[in-house]
């Protein structure tokens, strides 16, 4: 045998075992080579792998191991020394790398393990978060449901709709089998089934309110689970075969308006509650979840608020309806009152005329009769008739005056008059009667009292007469003194007129009149009643005095109208009495000292005025009057055109006519209408002719109507030459007639 540099295998070649070893080695090598390839492939694919260096090491280790095993394949047979060297090299390298790897792995494997734990931890965390998210989501959904429910509930102010909607929405949101609302009855002792979800018309089941389960629910403001067998829950026949679903009840506070405070939610024990019962579907395994209970509680509160709003609205609607009814009633009452007043005024207006006319006829004719030849008996009879009719006339006048006074429709007729003369006249009137009764009457007028004053002469005299007349009437003996002077603030020391103040002014003065008598006097307690209508003190001497009891009442009203005050002082019965009144009168200018109308003053100045060529239009339907008026005006120099009808007047009237005289009693269109039309025709004042009415009656109504129609003056027919002259000069100078009647 030649010596080859071969190495003998360690063990003798055993054919079968060798074969197996050979094959295993081969496969190991293949695997060892493929593993790194796989690793590289997959690591290249994955983006996260922190330990590449380890991989390289591991790869090297495996490759070398593989190489080792691969080379081992050759050692099964005779192999050259190179192969052995390579083998040894490979083995050495493998040993080095594997040791290095082993050392490296000591560091790495704990890390890898901790990664695993962290992964587990994170997975747990993720699961937990998932759970929480689920919870939040359900809560959010619950919130959404609540909002939607609230919106539905609060979108209406009708109590019935609120409750019905609540039940429907709750039923839908929570998928309930049944939902019911029990309201307390009026007596408060029972709960009555008011609304249900499924049943259309709940029959009036009632349940006493004092059940323990109900008390339990009312005590807490949470939703409480109750047994499905309790009376409030047993409202439907059992539908399912098995267990009825869980039932929950919650209280709904019913707020009264009176205890609805904005800032503090009342926690009174005497509150009324309604009961809301919710049933889950039977035969389902559903349980009441916390969030569902919360939902129910919130809804119950919202319902309470919505109901209170509905109650407030109902209340205000009711109040408004009540007010409207009251308004209607008041309106009706007002209209009735107005009708009554109008009826009374009409009555008065008619009666005024109707009653006065026959009265005047009676009085006038009786006085006329007295002037004829009569026997003494006849004379006596006629005198009695006259006296009675005078009384009656006075009474009628008084009543009518008083009614007008109360109406406020009486106006004082102001005029300039002689004040001193008024007193003297009253004195003269009363003296004969007083002397018959043997009473002494004295009159004292203060020297500083103005002689002339502006006021209502007739009514002042009426007041004075009444007061003095009373003094005479109620005195059987003694004296009566009438004093008149200028009132100053000091003279008002009387406490009976505390609210009467003298207002000093330049144009007015206060007249103070005092009538003192020594007669029967008045009980101080009766003094307030003196001035009331129709009341007469029933003291001894007064029953025969007659009179209606209106006198003082009327005086009081006249005095008040004149801006004054009237009162009576008396010490008591039998001690006489003093009547005092103060009235406000206007002061006259110093220039006017006479009582004559202004017309004559004017006539003195303008008697020589020339009216030549003055164009005048006369409207008069009576031929004779027309001719007379025309002649009058032509005599004064005017250029007169006459018309006999209103139409003609309106046709003919033009800017050239300076004055239009029109008769008040024209047939057809009234003269007022004509005046208005003339105003319309000539809008500018200097173009318009002056309009004067000619009338045969002098009452205030005609004057008022004329003035209202826009006329510039009123003249009484028949017109004398002088009067016409004054009228024309007045018109031309002032553009309006100051005083013509």
């Amino acid at each position: 045998m030649e010596s080859c540099n071969c190495i003998e295998p360690q063990w003798p070649a055993d054919e079968l075992l060798m074969k197996y070893q050979y094959i295993s080695d081969f496969f190991i090598a293949v695997a060892y080579f493929s593993i790194p390839l796989e690793l590289i492939y997959f690591v290249k694919k994955s983006s996260v792998f922190p330990y590449r260096w380890v991989l390289v090491q591991f790869g090297a280790f495996i490759v070398l191991c593989g190489a080792t095993h691969f080379i081992n394949l050759w050692t099964f047979y005779m192999h050259t020394r190179t192969v052995a060297v390579v083998m040894t090299l490979a083995k050495v390298l493998t040993a080095v790398v594997s040791c290095a790897t082993a050392l490296m792995l000591v560091h790495i494997i704990p890390d890898l393990l901790s990664v695993k734990t962290r992964e587990l931890f994170l997975k747990n965390k993720a699961a937990e978060l998932d759970r929480e998210m689920g919870l939040i989501r359900t809560q959010e959904e619950t919130g959404r449901h609540v909002r939607m429910l609230t919106h539905e509930i609060r979108s209406t102010l009708d109590r019935h709709t609120i409750l019905k909607t609540t039940l429907i929405e709750l039923g839908r949101t929570l998928a309930l089998e049944e939902c019911a609302l029990w309201m307390p009855t009026r007596t408060g002792l029972e709960l009555q089934l008011a609304y249900t979800l499924r049943q259309q018309n709940p029959v009036g089941y009632t349940v006493p309110i004092q059940l323990p389960v109900i008390n339990q629910v009312f005590r807490s403001n949470h939703a409480v689970k109750i047994s499905p067998n309790c009376p409030v829950a047993r409202i439907r026949p059992l539908a399912g075969k098995y267990m009825p679903g869980d039932v929950v009840a919650v209280r709904v506070p019913l707020l009264h308006l009176s205890n609805f405070q904005i800032n503090d939610w009342p926690e009174l024990s005497t509150k009324r509650y309604a009961l809301m019962v919710l049933m889950l579907p039977s035969d389902s395994a559903r349980q009441w979840h916390v969030h569902e209970l919360e939902l129910v509680e919130v809804v119950a509160d919202q319902v309470a608020v919505a109901l209170s709003h509905a109650a407030i609205l109902e209340e205000s609607m009711r109040a408004r309806d009540l007010l409207m009814d009251q308004n209607v009633a008041l309106d009706l009452a007002r209209r009735e009152a107005e009708t009554a007043i109008r009826a009374r005024n009409d009555f008065l207006a008619v009666m005024n005329h109707e009653m006065r006319t026959p009265m005047h006829a009676i009085v006038a004719l009786s006085s006329l009769l007295l002037e004829t030849e009569l026997t003494p008996e006849q004379r006596l009879m006629v005198e009695t008739i006259l006296k009675s009719s005078n009384l009656l006339a006075t009474l009628i006048n008084d009543v009518l005056d008083l009614s007008r006074l109360e109406d406020g429709s009486l106006q004082l007729e102001l005029g300039t008059f002689n004040l001193h003369a008024v007193f003297k006249e009253v004195f003269n009137l009363i003296k004969p009667i007083a002397s018959v009764k043997k009473l002494l009457v004295t009159l004292n007028i203060a020297p500083d009292l103005p002689e002339y004053a502006v006021g209502d002469e007739k009514r002042l005299m009426q007041t004075l007469l009444n007061v003095v007349g009373n003094a005479v009437k109620f005195s059987k003996e003694g004296s009566i003194s009438i004093t008149a002077f200028l009132a100053k603030s000091e003279s008002l020391r009387d406490s009976r007129a505390p609210d009467f103040f003298l207002v000093p002014s330049d144009n007015h003065f206060y007249l103070h009149v005092q009538v003192k008598d020594s007669g029967l006097g008045v009980n101080p307690q009766d003094i307030p009643k003196l001035f009331t209508k129709f009341a007469q003190t029933q003291s001894l001497g007064t029953r025969n005095s007659g009179g209606s009891g209106l006198g003082l009442a009327i005086c009081k009203r006249f005095v008040n109208l004149m801006g004054g005050h009237i009162w009576i002082e008396s010490e008591g019965l039998g001690k006489g009495c003093t009547a005092i009144f103060i009235v406000k009168l206007g002061m006259t200018g110093h220039s006017i000292k006479s009582n004559l109308p202004l017309v004559s003053k004017m006539s003195a100045n303008h008697v020589h005025a020339n009216f030549t060529g003055l164009k005048v239009l006369v409207m008069e339907d009576n031929g004779v009057s027309r001719m007379v008026t025309k002649g009058l005006l032509m005599h004064l120099g005017c250029d007169v055109t006459t018309v006999s009808s209103s139409d003609e007047c309106l046709r003919v009237v033009s800017q050239d006519h300076k004055v239009v005289f029109m008769d008040v009693c024209m047939p057809g269109i009234s003269c007022y209408e004509v005046a208005v039309r003339i105003h319309e025709k000539f809008t500018r004042r200097h173009e318009r002719p002056l309009i004067v009415a000619l009338t045969s009656t002098t009452d205030k109504i005609t004057k008022d109507n004329c003035m209202r129609a826009g006329m510039d003056g009123v003249v009484l027919k028949p017109v004398s030459l002088d009067k016409m002259r004054c009228v024309l000069s007045d018109l031309l100078e002032h553009g309006v007639l100051l005083e013509a009647i």
């Binding site: 006319t357 339907d621 009576n622 031929g623 004779v624 009057s625 001719m627 007379v628 002649g631 009058l632 032509m634 005599h635 009693c665 047939p667 045969s696 027919k717 028949p718 004398s720 030459l721």
Partner: protein, 129 residues
């Protein structure tokens, strides 16, 4: 002189009043016979009015408003010339008219006519002189 006597008697007896004097004053150079013209117009007017009144008074029932209207006219004319007595009777007639007193109206109307005719005769006599 006779004229003034007659004239004075007319005033004294109350047939005429101041209005007549006014009318007389209105006569001047332009219209010397103003008064006569007025009076003749008055006669013409009155005839018509009296005729209307008579017709109205024959109706039954009486239309007092119409009567009042006519009488108002007549009264107006009479007062324009100063016929005092006639005017007084007219006033009386109007009173009875307002009281709707038929008998009174009839009676007063007769008086009105009487006074009117008397006045007319007297005035004619006056103017002739």
């Amino acid at each position: 002189r006779q004229v003034s006597l007659i004239r004075q008697s007319l005033f004294d007896q109350g047939f005429l009043d101041e209005q007549f004097i006014q009318l007389e004053e209105l006569g001047d150079d332009a219209n010397p016979n103003f008064v006569e013209e007025v009076v003749s117009l008055y006669y013409r007017d009155s005839v018509r009015l009296i005729h209307n009144l008579e017709q109205a008074l024959e109706k039954s029932p009486l239309d007092y408003n119409k009567l009042d209207e006519y009488m108002h006219q007549f009264k107006g004319s009479s007062s324009s010339i100063g016929a005092k007595k006639v005017k007084a009777e007219c006033t009386q007639f109007k009173e009875f008219c307002m009281a709707e007193y038929r008998e009174g109206c009839m009676r007063t109307f007769q008086q009105v006519k009487r006074e009117y005719t008397t006045l007319k005769k007297k005035l004619e006599a006056y103017f002739q002189v």
